[in-house]
C-alpha cells in the first residue's frame, strides 16, 4: 500500500479522515473511510462523498464538490448580456430553459421591459416540457441505480420525443438558447402545437406505465419506503426547496407562491408527500409530470396572438425584412449586434421554480453592456447539504437510493 501520502493526497491534507461517527457506536466492526468518488456510477455526476462506513452502515458523510467547476459566473462577466444566455444555459444541464428563464427575468426586471403575453405562454410551455424531460432523465438514471434498467429505456424514449419538440421549435436538442431577453427568439413553427398536444396525450399513458412498472414492484417499494427520511424542519434550516421539501408535506412552489411569466392563468395542483421518505420524493416528481402536461394543454389552448418578443427595439433585434426598408431598424440592429444593449445600473434577484427547487439569478449591472456579476442560486448546490442528514446511520444500499432521489445535477452544483 502507498505508505507515504501520494502527492495528490498531500494537497488534500486538510480533508480530515478521522471519522466523527455520531451514531450509536457499537464498534464491533472497524470504521472504514472510503471515497464514493468522482468517478462512480451512482453519484449522478462527478460528486465525491467521503463515506465512513461501519460494515454496511454509513456513519459519516463528507461531500466534496468542484470536480466540474467551469467558472461560469466569471465567464458570464466577460460577455455582453445576450451572449451570457448560452453560457448560463450550460450550468444545470438538465434544465437549460430554466437557467435561461432565470437570467432573462432578472435582466427584464432591470430593464423594466414587459414581455408580451404570447412570449410568456411560449416560455411556460417550453419550461414545462423541460421539467418533464428533466424528471424523465432523473427517473431513468435512478431506476438504473436500483437495478431496473428497463425503465431507463422507456424514459429515454419519451425524452427523445421531447427533444424532437425542442428541435422543431428552436433547432437544437439541448441548450437551445430559445429564450431571449424580452421574449423568445422565433415564433413556433406551424404544426408544433399539434405535435405537443399529441405528446402530452401519450406522455400521460406512458407515465401510467411507469407507475404500473414500479408502484407494485415489491423490491422497489421495500427499497424506497421509509428510507432516507429527513424531517421538514431540518430541510427548511438547510435551505432545501423543490420536490424534496414538497415530499415532506410543505406545499412551497414558486409557481403558485410567487407566480411569474403568467403562471397565475393556469389551474394546476402541487403534488405534496406526507412522510418525506424516498417513496414520497419519487411520487411527488412522478405526479409533477401529469401536472406539467395539464399546464401545457391549458397554455396551448390559451396561446394568445401577438408578438413573440418585446417590440422595444432597444432590446430585441428588428425582423430581417425591416432591415431592407427602414433606417432606424438598421441602426438598432447594428447597435445590438456590435455592443449589445446597455442595462441601467442596479442589483436584482429573480427566483423561479426549477425541477430541483428554487433557482434564483442575481444580476448586478454597472450600466455597461456586460453584467458586473451573475450569480445563480442553484437548487442542487443547496440540496446537496442534506446528504449528511439523510445518509447518516443508514445502509449503503439505501443511501444509493437516497442520492438518486435527491437528484443532484453537478453542473449546477459546481457552476
Amino acid at each position: 500500500m502507498s505508505t507515504g501520502l501520494s502527492d495528490y493526497r498531500r494537497q488534500e491534507q486538510s480533508i480530515t479522515y478521522t471519522a466523527e461517527a455520531t451514531g450509536e457506536m457499537g464498534l464491533e466492526q472497524e470504521l472504514l473511510t472510503i471515497n464514493m468518488g468522482p468517478h462512480h456510477p451512482s453519484t449522478h455526476g462527478v460528486l465525491r462523498l467521503i463515506l465512513t462506513l461501519e460494515g454496511e452502515v454509513i456513519r459519516d458523510i463528507k461531500p466534496v464538490i468542484g470536480y466540474v467547476h467551469t467558472g461560469i459566473e466569471k465567464t458570464a462577466e466577460q460577455k455582453s448580456y445576450w451572449k451570457v444566455i448560452p453560457v448560463v444555459e450550460r450550468m444545470d444541464y438538465l434544465s437549460y430553459y430554466f437557467n435561461a428563464m432565470a437570467f432573462c427575468s432578472a435582466v427584464e426586471k432591470l430593464l423594466e421591459i414587459e414581455v408580451p403575453k404570447r412570449a410568456q405562454y411560449l416560455r411556460v410551455i417550453h419550461m414545462e416540457l423541460n421539467r418533464i424531460m428533466s424528471h424523465l432523465v432523473w427517473l431513468g438514471t435512478s431506476c438504473i441505480d436500483l437495478g431496473a434498467i428497463g425503465v431507463w429505456w422507456y424514459c429515454f424514449r419519451e425524452r427523445e420525443a421531447v427533444l424532437d419538440l425542442f428541435e422543431m421549435s428552436s433547432g437544437q436538442r439541448m441548450h437551445t438558447r430559445y429564450f431571449q431577453v424580452g421574449g423568445v427568439i422565433e415564433d413556433i413553427p406551424a404544426g408544433w402545437a399539434e405535435r405537443v398536444r399529441r405528446f402530452t396525450r401519450t406522455m400521460r399513458t406512458r407515465a401510467d406505465q411507469y407507475a404500473a412498472l414500479l408502484d407494485r414492484n415489491e423490491i422497489f417499494l421495500q427499497r424506497m419506503r421509509h428510507t432516507g427520511v429527513v424531517d421538514q424542519r431540518t430541510l427548511l434550516d438547510l435551505g432545501v426547496t423543490g420536490p424534496l421539501l414538497r415530499a415532506t408535506g410543505h406545499p412551497w412552489d414558486l409557481r403558485k407562491a410567487a407566480p411569474y411569466s403568467s403562471y397565475e392563468d393556469f389551474r394546476f395542483k402541487i403534488p405534496v408527500g406526507t412522510e418525506g421518505d424516498n417513496y414520497d420524493r419519487y411520487r411527488v416528481r412522478h405526479a409533477e409530470i401529469y401536472e406539467s402536461c395539464d399546464i401545457i394543454d391549458q397554455a396551448l389552448e390559451g396561446l394568445p396572438e401577438g408578438p413573440h418578443i418585446t417590440p422595444d427595439r432597444k432590446v430585441a433585434l428588428p425582423p430581417r425584412h425591416e432591415l431592407a426598408t427602414s433606417m432606424e431598424a438598421l441602426i438598432h440592429h447594428f447597435k445590438l449586434v456590435t455592443e449589445g444593449f446597455r442595462v441601467p445600473p442596479g442589483e436584482v434577484y429573480a427566483p423561479i421554480e426549477s425541477p430541483r427547487g428554487e433557482l434564483g439569478c442575481f444580476v448586478r449591472s454597472d450600466g455597461s453592456a456586460k453584467p458586473a456579476r451573475v450569480h445563480m442560486r442553484d437548487p442542487s448546490f443547496v440540496n446537496l447539504q442534506m446528504t449528511a442528514a439523510a445518509g447518516r446511520d443508514t445502509y449503503l444500499a439505501d443511501f444509493v437510493a437516497t442520492l438518486a432521489m435527491i437528484d443532484p445535477v453537478l453542473g449546477g452544483v459546481d457552476r
Binding site: R9, G37, P38
Partner: protein, 121 residues
C-alpha cells in the same frame, strides 16, 4: 498402481498445466511496461483517487456469515441443475431423490431464518 491412479494423475497434471498457461500467458505475451508506468495498474481503483485503505483492514464478521450462507445454497443449486435439465428422461425416481436431497437443506434454511442469521446486523 500406475494404471489405477493413471487417469487421476493425468487429470491433475492437465489441470495444473492449463491453469499455469492462463496465469503465465498474460505476463509472457503481454507488453512489458516499466514499473512506474504500471504503478496505476497495480494500485487499487477507488473512484479515480489514490486509495488509502490499508491492506490489513479487518472486515466485520457479518460479511463472512453471508458469504458462507451463499456458498451453501449456491452449491445446492449446482447439484440440482443437471438433474433439472434431464428430468423428463429420468422420471419420477429423480424427483423423489431430489426431494430427499433437498429436505435437510430446507431444514437448515428454516433454522437460519428463525435464528435471524439472514438479517444484516
Amino acid at each position: 498402481m500406475l494404471t489405477t491412479y493413471g487417469p487421476a494423475i493425468v487429470f491433475v497434471l492437465l489441470g495444473a498445466l492449463i491453469g499455469g498457461v492462463f496465469v503465465l500467458a498474460g505476463t509472457l505475451l503481454g507488453p512489458r511496461r516499466a514499473r512506474a508506468a504500471r504503478e496505476a495498474q497495480i494500485t487499487p481503483y477507488e473512484c479515480g483517487l489514490p486509495s488509502e485503505v490499508r491492506g490489513s483492514f479487518r472486515f466485520g464478521i457479518s460479511f463472512y456469515l453471508i458469504a458462507m450462507l451463499f456458498i451453501i445454497f449456491d452449491v445446492e443449486i449446482l447439484f440440482i441443475y443437471p438433474l433439472a435439465v434431464q428430468l423428463k428422461e429420468i422420471g419420477v425416481f429423480a424427483l423423489v431423490a431430489v426431494n430427499v436431497f433437498l429436505l435437510p437443506l430446507v431444514v437448515a434454511f428454516v433454522y437460519e431464518w428463525r435464528r435471524k442469521a439472514l438479517e444484516w446486523r
